[in-house]
Symmetry: C2
Subunit: 333 residues, 2 copies
DNA sequence: GTGAAAGCGCTAACAA
DNA sequence: TTGTTAGCGCTTTCAC
């Protein structure tokens, strides 16, 4: 176990360029005053030696790591990779890198604290399972945190989410336009703020428009965990005329059960709307009408917020709502 | 922009515990000799002050960052989140954290070098688009790299992949058992080592068993990019009796086109086998027979390899092949 | 615009 | 087992 010293340091570059170490430093720090000539000299020397500034040493003096902790989604939901790419890419543009924060605390819950040894400048919590410990740690160390596409109630943190209430309203309008009166909101089992907003928008609007209340029925956010609840729903008397589902996965589970086990036609016997617009929504088997979240925007905004809070030491909370778009395919009419 | 100093340092802890700074350090470093009594004292002081060792300062002296660069997949393929979770969790067990390396080099390609400012101890490249620059940088800085579930030919690095050749053989046997003779391998457009292995295993075995050669037809690894190629294939005379697809997404595209546009029954008119066992493979619309990769094992092994290469300074290449399992559902008979 | 010197928080010799 | 000392590679005053 023989760990070598770092190969090239700013000292080496300084020597080769014939300047002081601090001049080298200045060249690599934005906005320092260095003459164009020495700057060139230093760049040349740096390139010749293949020099990379040591971010750790830098952090030690600047007290900024340019590292953002990223709580990444725990569900194997098709859109989450895109989320990660978008966030990572936005961070990169601003000179930040992302460190993964494992959401699964194993055993003694020492894992969360571990990440704070790296002194992340901020944390982005991307639609993952709730983790109280994380929020407490952030508060303790005064690390700004922003929630991406989710809100954990009771936590005082910034967030960027889609306008779920409007989505609910639009779905309700769509169904009301078809003069339906027995409609269902199919929800997941874990109550979340964003889901509740959709429920509220849907129920409020449908009530207003038709005078009837939708049934809210609990299943699961994913496919396989919802099958039995859907069977129960469809076995209990007349099927609903339309179903608005909490996720696309759930909507697809509903469509499959309705078609293959209850011989119902979508959209003629029952209309279905999902939420998320996962790639599978376009597939020929589903052609699902659904709401597309503007993930690029969500990523951009959350990164912007976190970087502002870092730079400005501005601890005021930002709550942003991004519009969604209804994508009509063949599961509605 | 008022950046505060770090709140609590080992010095503070030392003072409170009434010991020297180096004793505090020893308490937080595995395998140092400290008496149980002082250890307790230090722990108490640390807890009272909410002390976290500064990983940057530590790295500076140890020349080890305990950070692993992670090149994460660029495709929005359903299993990739699981991959990330598994790798991240395995890393955590060994005391490492993962820093995301953005695969998309924007513009001036300065992004890759950036990550090396953090002096990652190693790099795991998880099934992503090939990036020559990354490999060169790693070599330049002597950073071990291991490829997860992929092999970029021409690169001298360790890798862990599934036994794709065997998968091809098993698929061939399955089809040969049904006495078929017109079978197709539906491949993606970008040639990869793992895919080629599957092609080889499939063709070799089918040839051996039946004396016939499968047709190898090029489409795409994802769903929507493959539709036209599949239409072309099915429009050209009699449909194949069976198709082995490079990915599950591709298999599902084939099933959809076959059923909805060519009125073919799966598996009676044409049998289909996929590869990956994504969650959708179990869905009622597909019930796809496919090969399940042992991602947990792939993650575990790749982390083990990288950590060994870091610890042992062992630059010998490890090439590991992990068995796959054929999961038979209703798309074959 | 540039250099010298001090110090960020930690670990690793070397003594004791 | 413990304390003292000397850096790790960088940035940042403060002179000049």
């Amino acid at each position: 176990m023989n760990i070598p010293k770092q190969t090239v340091t700013s000292k080496d570059v300084a020597k080769l360029a014939g300047v002081s170490q601090s001049t080298v430093s200045r060249v690599f720090v934005e906005g320092s005053s260095v003459s164009e000539k020495t700057k060139q000299k230093v760049f040349e020397a740096a390139k010749a030696l293949n020099y990379r500034p040591n971010a750790f040493a830098r952090s030690l003096t600047t007290n900024q790591s340019k590292l953002i902790g990223l709580v990444f989604p725990d569900a194997d939901y098709p859109i989450h990779m895109k989320t990660l790419q978008l966030i990572s890419s936005e961070l990169q543009k601003l000179g930040y890198s992302a460190v993964l924060i494992p959401w699964q605390v194993d055993g003694d819950s020492h894992s969360i604290p571990n990440i704070f040894q790296y002194r992340v400048d901020g944390v982005i919590a991307a639609s993952a399972t709730f983790n109280t410990a994380l929020y407490e740690e952030c508060e303790e160390f005064n690390i700004p945190i922003v929630q991406y596409a989710r809100v954990v109630e009771g936590t005082k943190s910034s967030y960027v989410i889609s306008d779920n209430y409007s989505a609910g309203q639009i779905a309700a309008q769509k169904f009301a336009d078809s003069a339906l009166n027995d409609v269902v909101y199919l929800t997941g089992e874990v109550p979340t703020f964003t889901n509740q907003e959709r429920v509220n928008g849907f129920c409020d609007e449908f009530q207003t428009l038709t005078g009837k209340s939708p049934r809210v029925i609990e299943a699961n956010y994913d496919y396989s965990g919802s099958l039995d609840e859907i069977r129960t729903l469809l076995s209990a008397g007349k099927p609903p005329q339309a179903v608005f589902c909490a996720t696309d996965n759930l909507a697809m589970a509903f469509m499959d059960i309705a078609r293959f086990e209850f011989n119902l036609d979508v959209p003629n016997d029952v209309q279905v709307i999902g939420f998320d617009d996962i790639p599978q929504a376009t597939w020929l088997s589903y052609q699902l009408s659904t709401f597309r979240q503007d993930f690029a925007r969500l990523a951009r905004e959350s990164v912007k917020i976190i970087s502002n809070q870092i730079k400005e030491k501005d601890s005021s909370l930002v709550r942003l709502m991004v519009p969604v778009r209804f994508i009509e395919r063949n599961s509605t009419k």
